[in-house]
Structure formats: structure tokens, C-alpha cells
């Protein structure tokens, strides 16, 4: 028996092989066609690479462009003005809001409220949907203002950005944030109040490793060149060169990343949430605990809870960043290659 995996990012299926009335094997098959980014960026102009890699993912392309720009800056010894870098972080954070809120509404929520698709929920519960739409539309506006468009932003380059937006449009984003945060809390309260299906708690990963970014100055991490493997600190290059080994299976196009080639680990919101809960703003922790949610979570099915905490925390950081940017930013950096 073969069944498609739906309401997830990427393409795959589960194949169950039955022999004499018993399950013989279960195969987790990733069928997504490879796009060979590791190959297609070779020998390209560096600025092109920053734009090309944003096409790795339509939901979170800024992560790839931002990290590509930072990697080139590190290799070339390019210093970036602190405020310009904060502006790029703001684009990345706006994208985190967009990506997480889309996951919540389109992929997670239908499972929790037992509908076939988000459109059923839109018709059944327009009021809560409206709160979601307020957050989505604000994140869309923020992405357009800061990055040029909703996906594949055009405003990240090696050494900085192409243009900073005018002060008034940033101010407007800040002014709207108050209402957006209110909407988000309504939407989040609704989701956090739903009792998750029993199977969520049955699937646990007690022995799996957690890998998430290093938390600088006790801040909740969103970009860094170091990471934690459980409690051990590694540089990213050390981790991927020496600690992780990749492998393949014949039935899947996925590359399997394993610690020392054998041990599994998880990354992303749930790993960050479990590892850096105390670095979340106390307002966020109070909100999560008010709804009886506290780490650690031992099932990836609870990643929606981590996404909610991350959106809330991100909105608070964005309020601070955009406020600073709307008051006194100016471009001082000029991009140059050192040699």
C-alpha cells in the first residue's frame, strides 16, 4: 500500500509492504525531484548565487539568501554596518512570521480541527480566520516593503542591501503591529486551546538529538555561525564537515544527514524551542504557560506550538527593530570586494 504525504512541505509517500497478512516493511520515500543547487551555484558570480539560492524554498528563501550573503562576507572579510545588518535581520524575521503563520493555518490547523482543508475552516470560522488574515497580510506588506516581494526577495546583497525603504512606510508597519499582535494572540489562543489528537503524544523521540543555533547574549537564535548539538557548541563548518555524515537509500531522493552517519537529529522550530525556551521574551513564556504549554516536547507533531511561540517572539523583536529603523537609519555601507 502506498499513501501520499499531504499537508507537508515537500513531496513524499509512505509505502507499507504486506506479506502473509503481516507488515513486512514500512518505507518513507521522498519523491521530490532534486534541483542540484550545490552544483548550479558552482563558478557563478557571487551576487547571482545570493539570488539563485532564494529559490531553494518558496516559503523561506530569505534564510538562504541571507546566509549566502553572510558566508561570502565572512570569506571576503566584508564588514557590514550594524544597522544595515539589523535591517537584513528584519527581512529574515518578517519571513519567519510569514512562513510560520502559513504553516499554522494551511497545514497544521486542518489536522487539529479535523477539516479536509483550510478553506472549510475559512467558511466555518470567519472570525478566527480574519485574525489569521490580518497577520498574513501584514507579513506580506512587511516583505514587500523591506524585501520587494513576498517570496524571492530582491533586497539582500553581499555587504548589505540594495535599498532601505522610506521612513514613512517603515513607521506604518510599526503602527500596524499593535493590531497585528492582538490578532495574532486571538488566533494563537484558539489553536493553543485545542486539545491535540491523542496520537500526537504517542509519537515520541526521547533519544533523538537536538540541533539548533547558538544563542548569542541569551537571545532567542535566528542566525549564527555556531550551533548546539544538544549542549555542545560547534561551528557550523566543523559540524557539517566532521560530525555529520550523509547517506542515501535506493528508494528516496533525500540525502540523509546523520551524526557520525548513524544518529538522527532534529532541527527547526521545535529544536530551538526545546533548547532555548528561556531565551524567549518573558511575555511569550507567560502566554504559552497560560495556555498550559511548556517544553520539552517529545514529538515533532508539536512543532506548531513552537511556531506559535516563535511568531510571538519575532513580532516583539520586529517591533523593536522596525522602531529603531524608522527613527534613525541611514545607509553608510558601500559594498566592495577587498581584493
Amino acid at each position: 500500500m502506498k499513501t501520499l504525504l499531504t499537508r507537508v512541505e515537500g513531496e513524499g509517500s509512505i509505502v507499507i509492504v504486506e506479506k502473509n497478512g503481516y507488515i513486512d516493511s514500512v518505507v518513507y520515500e521522498i519523491t521530490e525531484a532534486p534541483r542540484f543547487f550545490e552544483y548550479i551555484v558552482l563558478s557563478r558570480d557571487m551576487e547571482r548565487v545570493v539570488d539563485i539560492v532564494s529559490r531553494v524554498c518558496g516559503l523561506c528563501g530569505v534564510s538562504y539568501s541571507f546566509v549566502a550573503a553572510k558566508a561570502f562576507e565572512k570569506c571576503l572579510g566584508v564588514d557590514v554596518d550594524e544597522k544595515v545588518d539589523m535591517f537584513r535581520e528584519a527581512i529574515h524575521l518578517a519571513e519567519r512570521v510569514k512562513s510560520h503563520v502559513m504553516h499554522l493555518f494551511y497545514m497544521n490547523l486542518p489536522d487539529l480541527v479535523k477539516t479536509k482543508m483550510f478553506t472549510d475552516f475559512l467558511q466555518r470560522n470567519p472570525e478566527i480566520s480574519k485574525h489569521f488574515q490580518n497577520v498574513l497580510l501584514w507579513s506580506r506588506k512587511a516583505m514587500y516593503t523591506l524585501g520587494g516581494r513576498f517570496h524571492n526577495v530582491v533586497n539582500i546583497k553581499i555587504g548589505g542591501v540594495y535599498r532601505v525603504p522610506d521612513r514613512d512606510s517603515v513607521k506604518k508597519l510599526v503602527e500596524e503591529l499593535n493590531n497585528v499582535s492582538k490578532s495574532f494572540k486571538e488566533f494563537a489562543s484558539f489553536i493553543l486551546s485545542i486539545k491535540p489528537p491523542d496520537e500526537y503524544t504517542k509519537r515520541s523521540f526521547n533519544n533523538i538529538h537536538l540541533v539548533s543555533l547558538y544563542s548569542q547574549n541569551s537571545r532567542y537564535p535566528h542566525h549564527n555561525d555556531k550551533l548546539y548539538l544538544d549542549k555542545e557548541l560547534y561551528t557550523i563548518s566543523e559540524f557539517f564537515r566532521n560530525t555529520v555524515k550523509t547517506g542515501q537509500v535506493p528508494y528516496s531522493t533525500a540525502l540523509h544527514y546523520r551524526i557520525k552517519g548513524v544518529e538522527s537529529y532534529i532541527v527547526g522550530p521545535l529544536a530551538r524551542f526545546n533548547q532555548h525556551y528561556n531565551a524567549l521574551d518573558k511575555e511569550v513564556r507567560a502566554f504559552m504557560e497560560m495556555h498550559n504549554w511548556k517544553p520539552p516536547f517529545n514529538s515533532v507533531l508539536f512543532s506548531y506550538v513552537a511556531r506559535i511561540a516563535e511568531i510571538y517572539n519575532t513580532l516583539l523583536i520586529l517591533e523593536d527593530y522596525l522602531d529603531k529603523l524608522s527613527i534613525r537609519y541611514k545607509t553608510r555601507h558601500r559594498y566592495r570586494y577587498p581584493c
Partner: protein
């Protein structure tokens, strides 16, 4: 209610995310019922639909057969995005020995079954409408869905990004600032985003194939080279975002 399907091939999901965005509007939800869309709907089989959006390019036989079966079951097929129309950035591997490409990424390349070249959807099936872009402009998708439900279709506009710059009264980055810009040979529809950010258009909506010949493109490339772009860099942009046209130009075929 119109039945709508959304099919994804080799791509990043950026274009179908714009379709999802369009489906978040109440007036559209009231007129369309989604029948197939694995990213957001628990359904496995592609049944008959009135309109289907296809994102991505074709990398293997399975995808080619799938898109042919989708075509057979859809009244109206819309190819969305640069991948479906031109091949997309994954086309940058086309023309290279596929075994070399596979070995760069995979320790066991023999497990990976892909075509040596990327195929745009429009090379394999007939599209009733194409919406270019990387990603497509969400407003164009919303406009199509609203017009289709009223029995109409968008009016095709054959112009380059320059037209959008002029209407928005942007100072020409190419002429006034000497910044290499692919706007004159790129299909319009983005709203001239890159020039509005003070950078040259890098052609992500694809090469404007309807009224530019090989000679014009060669002259334009020469000008870009004079402004400092290397030929390799120009080729990256033309191949990465306009592969289908690039291929016909480099092979000297008539478009």
C-alpha cells in the same frame, strides 16, 4: 462552483504559495472548490477539474506522465512561473553530463533517476494560459480567478519590464546610472521590483520571446558587457531564468 487543481513538479512552491494566497479571499473560496493540492489537502488522486495550475519544470518520466494525465483531466491548464514556462534555475544544470551533476550532490548517484535536461511544462503539454514570474505575481492569480469565474480571461500584455518602469516613473537604472539591467528583454508583470530597489532587473520573469530575435539579444548582451557584466554572468541569467528561449537562441533555432 468551479473545480480547481494545483499540481507541483520540480520547483520551490513559491508560485503555488501565491495560489494559496489567492484562495484565502472569501469571494474566491465561494466560487472555487479545491479538488487536488497535496500541499494543503488530503487527497491522492487527480480527478477531473475545470481549471488547473501547474508549477515547476519536468525532471523525470514520472513527472512527464503526471502532467500529461493532468492535462487530460483539466478543461483549462494554467502554467505558472518561470520553471513551468522556461525551465527555472534548475536549468543551469542542463547541457552538463548528468552523472557529473549527480555526483556533486549524491554519494550514490545511481539511485537518482532524472532526465539529463530540464523540460518546461509548455514543451510537453498545451497550456491554455501562462503566467510568468519567479514567483508569479499573486495579484495576477487573483485577477485570473475572479475573471474566470465571470467567464472571462486576463488580456495578455506583450511588453518588457521597461513599460512598468516608465509607468511608475522610475529613473532608468540602465541609461541614467549605467547599471546592467535585463529589463528591456524581460517579460513584464513584476511591477519593476528590482529597478525600484535601485538594482538592475535580473530577468526572473523570463526572456521576452515574442518580439526579440537573436540579433537583438546579441546586441543587447554586448551592451551589458560594456557595462561590466561578464558573458558568463549574462549566460547564467539568461539560462537560469529564460532557459527555453536561451536554448533556441544558442542553437540558432527559429523561435
Amino acid at each position: 462552483m468551479y473545480r480547481v487543481g494545483i499540481a507541483k513538479l520540480t520547483s520551490c512552491s513559491g508560485c503555488i504559495n501565491e495560489v494559496i494566497y489567492a484562495l484565502t479571499f472569501r469571494d474566491i473560496v465561494d466560487k472555487y472548490r479545491v479538488e487536488y493540492f497535496t500541499e494543503v489537502l488530503d487527497v491522492e488522486d487527480f480527478g477531473k477539474v475545470d481549471i488547473v495550475f501547474v508549477e515547476g519544470s519536468i525532471s523525470n518520466k514520472h513527472q512527464e506522465e503526471f502532467v500529461k494525465s493532468v492535462r487530460a483531466k483539466a478543461e483549462f491548464l494554467v502554467a505558472i512561473g518561470t520553471c513551468a514556462l522556461m525551465g527555472g534555475v534548475q536549468s543551469l544544470r542542463s547541457g552538463i553530463d548528468v552523472e557529473v551533476v549527480k555526483r556533486t550532490v549524491y554519494p550514490e548517484p545511481r539511485y537518482i533517476d532524472i532526465y539529463s535536461d530540464v523540460k518546461p511544462v509548455t514543451d510537453v503539454v498545451k497550456a491554455d494560459l501562462v503566467i510568468p514570474g519567479c514567483p508569479v505575481n499573486g495579484e495576477a492569480v487573483i485577477s485570473l480567478l475572479r475573471k474566470y469565474s465571470l467567464g472571462g480571461l486576463p488580456i495578455p500584455i506583450y511588453e518588457s519590464v521597461c513599460g512598468e518602469c516608465k509607468r511608475k516613473r522610475f529613473e532608468c537604472v540602465l541609461v541614467a546610472k549605467g547599471i546592467p539591467c535585463l529589463g528591456p528583454i524581460t517579460i513584464s508583470g513584476c511591477g519593476a521590483i528590482c529597478p525600484s530597489f535601485g538594482r538592475g532587473c535580473y530577468g526572473c520573469y523570463g526572456i521576452k520571446y515574442f518580439d526579440i530575435g537573436k540579433e537583438n539579444i546579441e546586441l543587447f548582451i554586448k551592451h551589458l558587457e560594456e557595462l561590466g557584466l561578464s558573458r558568463e554572468d549574462v549566460d547564467t541569467l539568461l539560462k537560469g531564468y529564460g532557459f527555453k528561449v536561451y536554448l533556441s537562441l544558442t542553437k540558432g533555432e527559429k523561435k
